[in-house]
Symmetry: C2
C-alpha cells in the first residue's frame, strides 16, 4: 500500500532536531494512526509529495494552481486513509481568516432568540460557516466580554442579536469594542438598535406596538395596561415608545401606573400582571411586550385573578413565538419573522461589510387570535 516507504524525508521535517540520519520508525506502520492529530506533512509523506502540493490538492483554491490528476488522487487517498482533517487554527493563522461567525444572544432558552439563532444557523450551514453562540444572560458586561473573545477568535463576523442597552457609558464602550473589531477586519451586524454604527436588521418594534394598541382600540378598549420589560433594553424602549405614541395620538396618554415591568420572563410577568389588574379602574386591554411574558400574564389572569380572556380582558403579545398559538386562549400577537431576522443578519455577513452601514427593515404584523375581543360593556358610569 505504501509505495514510498523508502523515501528519505530529509530537509524540512527533520531539519530542526535530528541531524543524525535515523530510520524514521513511523514509516512502516501501514494505516496505524500515529500519535496525536494527523498533520498535512504526514499526509504529504504518505502520498509522496511535498506539503505544498498536499495543501494545494486538498484545498484546490490557492490562485489558479492546479495539482496533477495523479498526485491529487494520491493525496486525497492518503488524507482519507489517515482520516486527516486540517488543523483549523493553523489554517486560520496562515490564511489570517476563519469561517466562524459569532452570534451573541441574551438567552438561548428564550424562544425569541432560539428562533433567530435557528435562522442564522440554517444559513451558516448552507455556507459552511461555523457558529459560536454566546449567551449573555442579559449582562451587558458579558456582551463586551464575548465580543472581545470573538475578536480574539478572529471570527469573521458577529451578530449582536440581543437587545441593546440604553446606557451612555456602556454604549461608548460597546462602540469602542466594535470599532476595534472592525479595525481588525471583522464585521458586525446588529439586530435592533445598539447605538452603534453597524449594519443592522431592524425589527419594527415601534410600529408593531402601535399596531397592538390600535387593534385593541378598534375593538373598543379604552383602558390600557402595559406589561413592559427592563427599561434599559432598547427593544423595550422602542416597543414601549411605539405603544405610548399611539395611545397619545388616540387621546389616551399613558400614565406611569399603567405600565409595569414584567422583566421579560414568564414568572415576573405573572406577578406584574397581578399588580396591574388590581385597583379601581383596571385595564381591559393589555399590551404585553413579548410572548413569553404574555404566557405569564395569561396564567395570572386565568389562575390568579380568575378573569376571563378575552371576555373580560384582552391581551396582545409580541413576537409570535411558536407556542403563541397554543396558549390558552391562543394569543393575539404582533408577529416578527424571527427566523428571517437571523437569516437576514447572516446574509449581510455573506455580502461582507460595506462602506456605509446598511439597514434592513423587518416588518411586524398583527396576528389576531382569540385573546382579544371587543371591550366588555363599560363600567356603570352615570
Amino acid at each position: 500500500m505504501r509505495a514510498h516507504g523508502s523515501r528519505h524525508p530529509l530537509g524540512y521535517a527533520l531539519s530542526n532536531r535530528y541531524s543524525v540520519p535515523m530510520p524514521t520508525p513511523t514509516s512502516d506502520a501501514p494505516a496505524a494512526r500515529p500519535t496525536g492529530p494527523v498533520t498535512l506533512q504526514q499526509v504529504a509523506e504518505r502520498a509522496g509529495v511535498s506539503s505544498a502540493t498536499a495543501s494545494r490538492a486538498l484545498h484546490g483554491s490557492s490562485g489558479t494552481r492546479i495539482v496533477g490528476e495523479e498526485l491529487r488522487k494520491r493525496v486525497l487517498d492518503a488524507a482519507r486513509e489517515l482520516r486527516y482533517v486540517s488543523n483549523a487554527p493553523a489554517q486560520a493563522l496562515a490564511r489570517s481568516t476563519t469561517s466562524v461567525v459569532g452570534v451573541v444572544v441574551h438567552d438561548v432558552a428564550d424562544p425569541y432568540f432560539a428562533a433567530i439563532a435557528a435562522g442564522a444557523m440554517g444559513v451558516a450551514r448552507e455556507h459552511g460557516l461555523l457558529v459560536m453562540l454566546a449567551a449573555t444572560f442579559r449582562d451587558p458586561e458579558l456582551e463586551l466580554d464575548y465580543l472581545a473573545r470573538l475578536r480574539a477568535q478572529r471570527a469573521r463576523a458577529v451578530v449582536l442579536a440581543g437587545s441593546g442597552f440604553a446606557d451612555r457609558e456602556f454604549t461608548r464602550r460597546l462602540a469602542a469594542e466594535v470599532d476595534a473589531y472592525r479595525a481588525d477586519g471583522g464585521h458586525v451586524i446588529a439586530v435592533g438598535s445598539h447605538g452603534i454604527a453597524a449594519d443592522t436588521v431592524r425589527p419594527a418594534n415601534r410600529a408593531g406596538a402601535a399596531l397592538a394598541v390600535r387593534h385593541l382600540y378598534d375593538l373598543g378598549h379604552r383602558r390600557f395596561g402595559i406589561v413592559s420589560g427592563p427599561r434599559a433594553l432598547t427593544t423595550v424602549r422602542d416597543r414601549l415608545d411605539g405603544a405610548r405614541r399611539q395611545l397619545r395620538s388616540l387621546g389616551l396618554p399613558l400614565t406611569p401606573s399603567q405600565v409595569v415591568d414584567g422583566g421579560f420572563t414568564r414568572e415576573q410577568a405573572r406577578t406584574a400582571a397581578r399588580t396591574l389588574l388590581t385597583g379601581p379602574s383596571a385595564p381591559t386591554a393589555l399590551v404585553v411586550l413579548n410572548d413569553v411574558m404574555a404566557a405569564g400574564v395569561l396564567a395570572a389572569l386565568r389562575e390568579d385573578l380568575g378573569l376571563r380572556v378575552p371576555d373580560q380582558v384582552s391581551v396582545v403579545g409580541f413576537d409570535d413565538v411558536p407556542f403563541a398559538a397554543d396558549l390558552n386562549p391562543p394569543l393575539t400577537t404582533i408577529r416578527l419573522p424571527l427566523a428571517d431576522i437571523g437569516t437576514q443578519a447572516m446574509h449581510m455577513i455573506l455580502t461582507g461589510p460595506t462602506v456605509t452601514p446598511r439597514t434592513v427593515d423587518v416588518d411586524a404584523e398583527l396576528i389576531p387570535r382569540s385573546s382579544t375581543a371587543p371591550a366588555p360593556a363599560p363600567a356603570p358610569t352615570p
Copy 2:
C-alpha cells in the same frame, strides 16, 4: 489584512529589539491603532520588552515563570492601550489546545434542545469556554460533518446532544469519527444512546414513558394511543419501548395501529393525531413522545376533532418544556431536567475524559397537570 511585500525578510529578528537607539515611531501615537490586528509583538515593543515577556505577562501561566512587577505593568498597560486581544488561532496552534467546545443539536429552535444548550452554555460561561453550536436539522450526515469540523477546530470536547440514529452503518461511521476525534485528544459526551462508547448523560426515556403509561392506566384508561416520532431516533425507540413494555406488563400489548409517527414536530403530530383518533375504538389515553408534538395533538383534539381534554381524552407529553404548563389545558407530562442535562454534560467535559466511559443517569418525573383525568365512562359494551 495582511501586509506582505513590504516586509523586511529578516523582520522578525531585527524589529525585535532596538539595539540602535531609535525613537520607536509607534510609541508616540498614543492609542492610534496600526493597521490590522494588533500583535503581541507590537505590545511588546510598546512596552519595551521581548515578546516572550509580553506573553508571560499576559498569560501568567507558563510554568512558574513570573514577570517582574514593573515589566508586567508596562505590558498590561500597553496591551490595554492598544486594545490587544491575543490571536486565538495562533495561541491554539502554539499551545495545541483551545477553549472551545462543540455542542451538536438537532434544532436550536426546539425548546428541548434550546434548554439543554442553555444549561451547557451557562457552565461554559462560568469556565471561560466558548461554545460552537451546530444544528444538524436531523440529518445524520450533517452530524458526521460537524463532528469532523469540530475536530478540525480542535474543539476540546463535543457534546452530542441530539438523539442517536438507529442505523447500523451510520453508527459505524459515527464511531469511527468519534474514535478519530478521541485519538486526537478530544472528548466526546453523548446525551442518550448513540451506540458509541463515550461518556454519556442518559435521560430516563424508558422509565419516563412507563411512568406516563402507568399514570394513565391508574386513571382507568385502557385504550391507549401513542404519538411517536421518527423510528430512526434512539430517543424515540427508547421512549416507545418503555411505553410498550409497560403496556404489555399491564396486559395491554400495543398493536401497530395504536402508534402513529408525529415526526417530532407540532404540525405533523397534529395530523397524526387526527388519524389516531379516527375509527371505532379510538383511544382515550394518548402518550405523546414529546411536548412539542403534544401541543399539536392538543390543537388537533380541540380544533380539528372537537374532543375535550381531559374529559374525553387524556394526554401526557414528554420533556416538560417551559411552555407545557401554558398549553390548553396545562399539559401533564414527563419532566426531564433539561438544563441539568446540559450542565451535567458540561461538567463531564470539565473533569476531562476518563479511562472507562462514565454514565450519569437523569431521572424522569411525572408532572400531573390538567390534561389527564379519569377515563370517561366505558363505551356501551354489552
